[in-house]
């Protein structure tokens, strides 16, 4: 749904009792004025009602400028201009233009939170910098809402304003209250709840609306609200008593059902900028003289299709069965298969057969409107009037589109199960089995995976621990004990779940966090390990094991200064070696000083394995691998049963290109702890670095079987599969299908 509709009273979120219409401001005007004049307007409209989707079939109307009712003017014109811009952009193809468009595309991959409202504002009310607080009520309300939107751009606190009496009905007030609080949460997604409430209260106060709405839940609640709106809109299926109202309602119902895909498609294209992409792409390609395999095709629709395929794939990866069945997914998958194409921002069927499907689907959804649908399918619509309608729609939808950017983003963040449920019960099929061999398509898929992965990494690198969704150990009487048992049995992934339950119960339990961090490290997930260890350190800042583990994990992630800091922290907090730490060092750590201090410590007590271990890690940091190996070997003489020490030795040997020795060390580690995922993965790395890709694949698959969440493993597996010319297995790798991979590559 277009966010704008939520704000201004579009049909889908209509509150029962208030009149809804296709035109949001028309709605406001109707509600506010209750005059007969608007009703007159409605009656003049064609009897067969074009819906948003119908506008698709009148592409000639797109961008055409027909006079609408005068309160539509500020929207109509910018809409038309922007389509002019798109046309010019496509035809002119000047470098500067392309570059700026490219920048837009780049930018839109991570749109700033204010993106949607800003665009909406720019298009909708560029001239209205200051709210016009006189004139007819709907004008006042409109400009007042715009000024609210405007403040949201800069995150400026909105001040209550004295407004003339608007005569809003209770239903209108409820509408505005609910929608403004939803909208505000979108605008101020990066702000605190208090700030958002403040903004909304200021708005509502100005409009003399009570702010004690039930819509003030915490952020996740908005999806439930949306569901509520959806249900309401579904509920108003029956035509109203009043002929005009009923008509209007029926119309808006159609718009909801059929309009959605169009809006989605449009916003999707806007977000990803199919045309901009295509042109940029074409330009780059020709520059590089390697355009041969992409030339000649219809760049725009190709690119659009690929974009959609990407989306379809991400969506398909969401394992929620409700979502898998959603109509939106089906729609996107249709687009990705080329059954639907986007042309001039209109959705069209690619073949007449699918057109039939659509019509059928449409009729099923709208039993009430079946007559209408027939008429619509047979094209018996009065063209002149329809054109006007189509035009109004296309201009309106362009505004929706920009706001929908936000919405699409929200949506793609997933966790919208409730909402997705409402999308119907048809199964999206054939998306995963539809992979073409086109390398560019694969590249897009990878791009997508990479985006997902980078998001996860981003969360991880912020040091935010990411909990598992479904945890059977929540509610367990003693999850710490359970976690420790699992850990000692070598059931790392189970131990992780139990320990997560423990730290959810007792967030200050340093031991819970520490063991969780160790379990993640052994499970080959350093980002989670670091996040957990940070929490452990928060709870117990001087725990030596935690400091060492943080030093090791940061070394693994090649984050040298962080690693150095923690390793030095280990020394400083050590009861025996703390005296060696010089306070002046802690401000600016230099590797050489730290190493010297640790050597002093090692001389102090040569029989302390721990100090040799830390020294070994330190030498890894400086890539003095021979010294590191020596330190670890010394430590191993003192602690021969320490499997993680064997792995450290192996990893050091591997990094100093002694891969054959490394494999022996890993084998020692695995003999002591057979479920040591990190050692299995390291085995794979060592074989791959020696060019023995077939062997490496088996070890990677083994490691991934034990912990499918280790992203690194999947990436390495992919490389090894390509190098071993096993491209036939890439798909199984991309879809993370371990059953196939295990059968194909047993160890």
């Amino acid at each position: 749904m277009a966010m704008r509709e939520l704000v201004t009273g579009g049909a889908a979120c209509a509150v029962p009792g208030s009149s809804s219409s296709s035109n949001p401001f028309g709605n406001l005007a109707n509600a506010v004025l209750s005059t007969a004049s608007k009703g007159q307007d409605w009656k003049e409209l064609p009897s067969s009602l074009p819906t948003a989707s119908e506008a698709q079939f009148y592409p000639e109307a797109h961008g055409q400028q027909l006079p609408g009712p005068d309160f539509d003017q500020p929207y109509m014109q910018p809409g038309a201009q922007s389509s002019d811009f798109i046309r010019n952009f496509n035809s002119v193809g000047g470098n500067a233009l392309l570059e700026s468009a490219w920048d837009d595309v780049q930018g839109s991959q991570l749109p700033p939170p204010m993106h949607g409202p800003q665009l909406m504002y720019d298009r909708g009310a560029a001239a209205q910098l200051q709210p016009t607080l006189d004139g007819p009520p709907q004008r006042v309300l409109s400009s007042f809402l715009h000024s609210f939107v405007e403040t949201s751009r800069g995150g400026i606190p909105f001040r209550p304003t004295q407004l003339p009496v608007l005569g809003l009905s209770a239903g209108d007030k409820q509408c505005i209250r609910d929608r403004s609080s939803i909208m505000a949460r979108h605008f101020f997604a990066d702000k605190s709840e208090d700030f958002i409430n403040g903004q909304v209260n200021a708005l509502l106060c100005s409009l003399d609306i009570d702010s004690d709405a039930n819509s003030k839940g915490p952020l996740p609640a908005r999806f439930r609200e949306l569901e509520g709106y959806w249900n309401e809109s579904q509920a108003i299926q029956k035509p109203g008593a009043h002929a005009t109202d009923g008509w209007v309602r029926e119309f808006s119902q159609h718009r909801v059902d059929r309009g959605d895909p169009n809006v989605w498609a449009q916003s999707f294209e806007q977000q990803h900028g199919a045309h901009g992409w295509a042109s940029e792409f074409e330009q780059e390609q020709s520059q590089l003289m390697s355009a041969d395999h992409m030339r000649g095709g219809n760049m725009a629709s190709l690119a659009a299709m690929e974009q959609t395929r990407m989306l379809a794939n991400t969506l398909a990866q969401n394992e929620d069965p409700k979502f898998q069945k959603s109509r939106f997914l089906q729609f996107v998958s249709k687009m990705s298969r080329g059954e639907l194409i986007i042309d001039d921002n209109q959705v069209k069927q690619a073949t007449s057969s699918t057109a039939g499907d659509w019509a059928g689907e449409y009729q099923q959804q709208n039993n009430a409107g079946s007559n209408w649908a027939n008429e619509y399918v047979h094209g018996e619509v009065e063209l002149s009037r329809a054109t006007q309608w189509a035009n109004e729609f296309s201009s309106e939808q362009e505004q929706h589109g920009s706001v929908d950017d936000q919405w699409v983003n929200q949506f793609s963040k997933l966790h919208v199960d409730d909402w997705a449920e409402e999308f119907g019960n048809q199964v999206g099929q054939g998306i995963l089995g539809d992979n073409s061999t086109d390398s560019w398509a694969n590249a897009y898929d990878e791009f997508l995976n990479e985006q997902v992965a980078s998001k996860q990494r981003l969360d991880g690198s912020r040091g935010v621990y990411v909990f598992s969704d479904m945890n059977p150990y929540v509610g367990h009487p003693n999850p710490l004990k359970e976690g420790q048992d699992m850990f000692h049995k070598g059931l790392l992934s189970e131990a992780v779940l139990a320990l997560e339950a423990e730290v959810l119960k007792n967030p200050d339990n340093a031991e819970g966090w520490r063991l969780l961090g160790i379990a993640h490290a052994e499970n080959d997930d350093d980002q989670q390990a670091i996040a957990a260890m940070m929490r452990a350190q928060e709870a117990d800042p001087t725990n030596l094991e935690v400091l060492l583990a943080l030093g090791v994990s940061h070394t693994n992630e090649l984050e040298q200064s962080a690693a150095l800091k923690y390793l030095y922290g280990w020394l400083r907090n050590h009861p025996k070696y703390g005296v060696l730490a010089r306070p002046e060092l802690s401000d600016s750590l230099y590797y050489a000083d730290v190493a010297r201090t640790f050597n002093e410590a090692a001389q102090m007590s040569p029989d302390d394995a721990d100090v040799h271990i830390v020294l070994g890690v330190l030498y890894n940091l400086s890539r003095e691998y021979d010294k590191a190996i020596e330190s670890f070997r010394t430590a191993l003489k003192l602690k021969p049963q320490d499997y993680s020490l064997w792995n450290k030795l192996g990893a050091t040997q591997a990094n100093s290109v002694q891969s054959a020795d490394a494999i022996l060390a890993y084998q020692q580690a695995l003999d002591l702890k057979p479920n040591y995922v990190r050692a299995w993965a390291n085995m794979g790395i060592s074989y791959a670095n020696q060019g023995m890709y077939d062997d490496s694949i088996r070890y990677y698959v083994r490691a991934l079987t034990m912990n499918p969440k280790a992203d690194n493993g999947w990436q390495y597996l992919r490389i090894s599969l390509s190098c071993a010319s096993r491209n036939d297995m890439l798909e199984a790798c991309d879809s993370r299908n371990l059953d196939i991979l295990q059968k194909e590559f047993p160890l």
Binding site: Y444, F447, T555, N556, Q690
Partner: protein, 124 residues
């Protein structure tokens, strides 16, 4: 080492240096037979770049610009993005299309620049 703001990529490229002396490293050099220069910027492309040369004709790695004439391809990355590419987290084509990787020189040479030429670091 001595300063703490060393590039992460350098750690990986140092490993590349040793890797080129192994059988596998030699096989890769033989297979590709091109000279790549890599410019790595700590944060933003084009700023404070550090140049490294991966000479897969001779099977050598060194810090600094290529001195034997013109490299077959010169790449520019940020530190993070180079690691992503070398470790298989990002596809070079994607990186290029997104502007995360700049290329000068022969495109066919650039296309042989794939993650499998880099050794993967093992984890302690």
């Amino acid at each position: 080492m001595g300063s703490n703001d060393e590039l992460k990529s350098e750690a990986l490229l140092e490993q590349m240096k040793h890797h080129l002396n192994t059988d596998q490293g030699k096989a890769i050099a033989k297979k590709i037979g091109l000279v790549y220069q890599i410019n790595i910027a700590p944060k933003k492309l084009g700023f404070n770049e550090v140049a490294y040369t991966i000479d897969l004709k001779k099977g050598e790695f060194k810090k600094g610009e290529y001195e034997g004439g013109k490299a077959d391809a010169i790449f520019s990355f940020t530190d993070e993005d180079f690691l992503k590419i070398a470790l298989g987290k990002m596809n070079p084509q994607i990186a290029f299309m997104r502007g995360a990787m700049k290329v000068k020189g022969s495109m066919s040479a650039a296309q042989k620049f794939t993650p499998d030429i880099f050794p993967k670091p093992s984890k302690m």
